[in-house]
């Protein structure tokens, strides 16, 4: 980590994050009330999958059904393959998505390029009836025409700012912070 001074602002604490997850699960259930049996939840690595798991649990409880759950790794579908220091990880979608409504879940929506890659990856798995997008944080600055269907929180940010999502399962605590140069 560099020694430059950064200002850190907490934009979501654990409680707010938990409420956002519950609210999004309810919104998914309402919006798809007529086709609950066609729902599938897919989370984008890494952290979108963790959020997706939580949303699935909340949704299952709400609709009293077991919604299928999958994990998508988009490393091999990025438009900047190789420019990130990330090795590909496994994708696990152990069911057909043909004719289903895929609820795609990511932690932060920024340029929209990750979601573009995720949609390309999904389409290689079949032809869903529709794809809906959930993001915990929408920080703006889109570079592609992509719009979320469910948002935990809109946070206007500077383009240079860094939005950090930490989750209990991967980081030991639930918190969302924005880091900016002071």
């Amino acid at each position: 980590m560099g020694a430059e001074k950064t200002r850190t602002t907490v934009v979501m604490d654990g409680e707010a994050l938990g409420r956002a997850v519950t609210r999004i699960a309810h919104e998914i259930a309402e919006k798809n009330a007529g086709s609950l049996d066609d729902l599938i939840i897919v989370g984008i690595r890494a952290r979108g999958d963790v959020l997706a798991k939580r949303i699935q649990v909340a949704l299952n409880r709400r609709i009293e059904k077991q919604v299928p759950f999958g994990v998508l790794d988009i490393t091999l579908y990025r438009d900047d393959v190789g420019s990130r220091a990330a090795l590909p990880r496994s994708t696990d979608i152990p069911f057909s998505i043909n004719g289903k409504i895929v609820v795609l879940i990511d932690d932060v929506l920024y340029t929209g390029r990750s979601v573009r890659a995720a949609m390309d990856a999904l389409v290689d798995f079949g032809r869903p009836q529709g794809i809906q997008l959930v993001v915990l944080i929408d920080r703006g600055h889109r570079e592609l025409p992509i719009k979320p269907d469910y948002v935990g929180k809109n946070i206007p940010t500077q383009p240079q700012a860094n939005v950090k999502v930490e989750l209990e399962e991967t980081d030991g605590r639930d918190i969302v912070v924005v880091e900016e140069a002071a």
């Binding site: 490393t75 590909p88 950090k164 999502v165």
Partner: protein
């Protein structure tokens, strides 16, 4: 490791996700961390073969050339499928019909290919060190698909992968390679590969084909098959090349089969759950019996499937490492 969300916009932190060299020439040049990185990447890429569309766009627009100076349908096809599943374009250079047979030097051939903006050259050659001299002169990545009696790194990597897949780990295992060790690039690469990941390597075969000096490289040398297999976790059968008999290394093929041919009875000398492996193509009834090749302990078919995943990982890592180097 940092926790950078999708929307970070800051430079990713540096951690080990890059190969140090632009080329894969041999296992000798890799360290254990790089080997594990290749195996882990292969793990993620293997599943692509089970997707409804058996292809990912990662290497779209890259060109891979298979330059084979020795015939090899298996290895060439495996590299070709690996490149295709990553969406690279592939050109196979069929040496007997190319200008190579008109006397063009290796380096001229390579320079011609590079002038055509080739990104990766996968090369098999009868001379040890041929890919190394090519790699020194080119900006493209060179992958050694077998050079003379020197190395065959992707074979050793797929063997490691297969063992890791079956046993969970390579460390602490004992592998016995049986056959023509002296002339086998597979044996040499596997010696480096298994040693680097903490396994014990034994060589076994007739003294003309297993010189005792090989023990200086870190392997234990055996001439008695039963001793060599006792306590082994992996029985690795090498292909017997018949020209060795003509060249006087073997008094008779029948004698070899009697002493060193792998049969289900002899597999019982190894540990109960020992794996039986062979780099292919097999001479059934010579170095390995029909029943041994098809026994429940045989993972020879798994080796073939894993070969594609390993070669995908190598192509992917070489290309992405080279791109980041250039940044």
């Amino acid at each position: 490791m940092g926790i950078i969300g999708a929307g970070s916009g800051v430079a990713p932190e540096k951690f080990e996700s890059r190969l140090r060299s632009k080329d894969l020439l041999g296992i000798e040049e890799l360290d254990a961390g790089e080997i594990q990185m290749i195996l882990n990447t292969a793990d993620s890429l293997k599943e692509v073969a089970h997707h409804p569309i058996k292809k990912v766009p990662a290497l779209r627009g890259r060109t891979v050339v298979n330059l084979f100076y020795e015939p090899s349908t298996r290895t060439r096809t495996s590299f070709e499928l690996a490149a295709l599943r990553l969406s690279a374009d592939v050109v196979n250079i069929d040496v007997p019909t190319s200008s190579v047979s008109k006397g063009e030097t290796l380096l001229d051939t390579a320079r011609t290919l590079e002038a055509m903006s080739v990104d990766v050259i996968v090369m098999r050659h009868a001379s040890s060190g041929a890919p190394h001299s090519l790699a020194r002169h080119l900006k493209s990545s060179v992958v050694n698909a077998g050079d003379g009696q020197h190395e065959h790194p992707t074979q050793a990597l797929l063997d490691l992968y297969t063992v890791r897949e079956k046993f969970g780990s390579v460390e602490g295992k004992t592998i016995t390679l049986v056959g023509d060790i002296l002339h086998s690039r597979v044996a040499h690469s596997n010696l480096f590969a298994f040693t680097k990941l903490g396994a014990k390597v034994r060589f076994c075969g007739p003294p003309t084909l297993v010189p005792s000096e090989l023990s200086a490289l870190g392997a234990e040398v055996y001439y008695d098959l039963k001793e060599a297999l006792t306590g082994a976790d992996i029985v690795y059968v090498l292909r017997l090349q018949f020209e060795r008999h003509r060249m006087g290394f073997l008094p008779s093929v029948r004698g070899y089969v009697k002493e060193y041919g792998i049969t289900p009875e002899r597999i019982k000398w190894a540990n109960p759950d020992a794996l039986v492996m062979h780099p292919g193509p097999m001479n059934r009834g010579i170095e390995i019996s029909h029943d041994a090749a098809d026994s429940p302990q045989s993972v020879i078919v798994a080796q073939v499937a894993n070969g594609i995943a390993i070669r995908m990982a190598v192509l992917y890592l070489l290309e992405t490492s080279r791109m980041r180097e250039g940044q």
